[in-house]
Symmetry: C2
Subunit: 325 residues, 2 copies
């Protein structure tokens, strides 16, 4: 990880320690950045007793959580640093006395102006995985956990960032031919469902709303693997396509059950099985937490292959950045 | 509200007081019951500093929240009292020392066996609204809030249950001809999106996954009104149908923005505007909380009219209750 990002994380950790007792954590963003923060809620819920809640930015503002105040930590994210709802949410949180930390790719953005502290990340195809948004998020997350409850586990989790790029690069190579086939088979589908749970929920949500709906104009919905059996599964038929994720942690059994059922009743089930990832460079007890970053590499590959097969660039928009709304 | 339900609520409140400090609340269920509990999370987040989290039952078990313990209150719900994941989640919570309270329609169910306390509710078309699941939930919710932080507001909120049936009956009459037209116009659509936010999120989620996907085999997705602008809105086109809810509270501006945009770019936008409800019998400062119950009446009407127009009974299933899964 770049020294700049390491230093920004260090500054935030010191500020958090100086702030004293944190009794609530809010993770606040929109769309892809909202999805990006979801794994942090998952990890915080498993690792600490401090309540962590992830909310869309404007839902956070309009809901006015009563627990929000001087002992709150509010982490927001906007890639461009300009998302109006997230800038407003950060301003609102700071006015309530919360410690505000923003993640952003852009420098000197409106978000950076409103947040007390900003942690930047890098972007682009040649970027080392530890410098991308998820890498830097984990750099902050495990450093923060290491302060709340120091543990060699979090030391190892931080060290895993050094090998993350090897893992994601290998996965990208491994999946490129597989995904080319999936995309070819799925390219004429007007609707593709996205199913996952646990740590992978954010990636599957982002795949549905950003990669498919936004960037491919393909209908989609994120379905939680457990919820699948309590409504959505009745939509399953031989010709209904599902892209489903099987995680590594305790949620795996829940994902497997959904995959097994869908495979029995649909001919178009495509599974991102995290057990197929070579994560041997990362300690086994940390693989669940890191798996979603690797799943994200595969979801991105699917989107890129879809774009190629469908002649529909991932950069095409009809409304976003083009209209006032 | 029936004396039995009032007494069950009273017993739960006394047990909660006897338990002492509650420092975390988990609301745990599957599908429609999961949707049913979402408004309780919304109200608790606004009214108390005790963190409230709503999770699908098996996500709750597999995530193993670190804060779950002797000072937790875990509220679960299963209509039949037999949903295996919810029974297991309640058992798990009780083993961790949490106070477990279940909502159920059925008597003497496996859920009732696992939960320390059960609050029942009534069901069926002739049932008074205060005896239905949402009425009884609010009966518990405001009684509980009145114990945490006694207020005449919660007294009035409980009194509102006495007039709830008048409000919902009137709304049903008001909307019956309107919804008949909507259903006729929408009956050949293979996909209908469901958009809402704030207190109405649970109803819109339930409409997508239970009423449409499960009971009508119509593709759908719940989209949060705020999130709509960060991905999903790019799917909007002249022929893409949306059923959208406009709430009454602070979230209203967020809903309105989504409705305004969708109406500009789709010819098939149908709006459940909560301002059109006659809620004059309920105090203005409580109307936001109660509005979702009234929205639920309209969503149910849509489902019933869809079923009629499409000749597809709401009781038809191909997998649920028919297969082992």
């Amino acid at each position: 990880m770049k020294d700049q990002f390491k230093q920004e994380i260090k500054t935030v950790i010191e500020a958090t320690q100086a702030k004293g007792d944190i009794d609530s954590i809010y993770l606040v963003a929109c769309g892809g950045s909202h999805a990006f923060l979801q794994p942090a809620e998952y990890v915080l819920t498993k690792e600490t007793t401090i309540p962590a809640t992830v909310l869309p930015s404007r839902e956070f503002i309009t809901r006015e959580p009563k627990a929000l105040g001087e002992h709150s930590l509010v982490v927001s994210c906007s890639h461009s640093g300009t998302t109006p709802e997230t800038v407003a949410a950060t301003k609102y949180a700071r006015e309530q006395g919360a410690l505000t930390v923003a993640f952003a790719f852009a420098d000197e953005s409106p978000l950076e102006e409103e947040a007390e502290y900003t942690i930047h990340y890098a972007w682009g195809p040649e970027t080392d995985a530890s410098d991308l948004n998820t890498g830097v998020l984990y750099g902050w997350l495990f450093a923060y956990l290491n302060v709340i409850n120091p543990s060699e586990k979090y030391d190892r989790a931080l060290k895993a960032l050094d090998v993350l790029n090897d893992v994601t690069t290998k996965t990208r190579e491994q999946y490129t031919p597989i995904i080319a086939k999936w995309a070819s088979e799925l390219k004429r589908e007007p609707l593709v469902y996205s199913v996952a749970s646990g740590i992978n929920a954010g990636q599957a949500y982002s795949f549905a709303i950003c990669w498919l709906q936004e960037m491919q104009w393909v209908n989609s919905a994120y379905i939680h693997s457990g919820e699948y059996f309590h409504g959505p599964f009745e939509i399953t038929d031989f010709d209904v396509p599902f892209i489903m994720c099987e995680g590594l942690g305790k949620a795996r059994a829940m994902d497997e059950r959904a995959v097994d059922f869908a495979k029995k009743h649909s001919d178009k089930v495509y599974v991102i099985d995290n057990k197929d990832f070579d994560m041997s460079l990362i300690d086994e007890d940390l693989q669940d937490y890191y798996s979603q970053i690797v799943s994200g590499v595969v979801y991105r590959l699917i989107a890129e292959s879809f774009a190629y097969e469908r002649g529909h660039s991932l950069d095409v928009r009809r409304y976003m950045w083009k209209l006032e709304y």
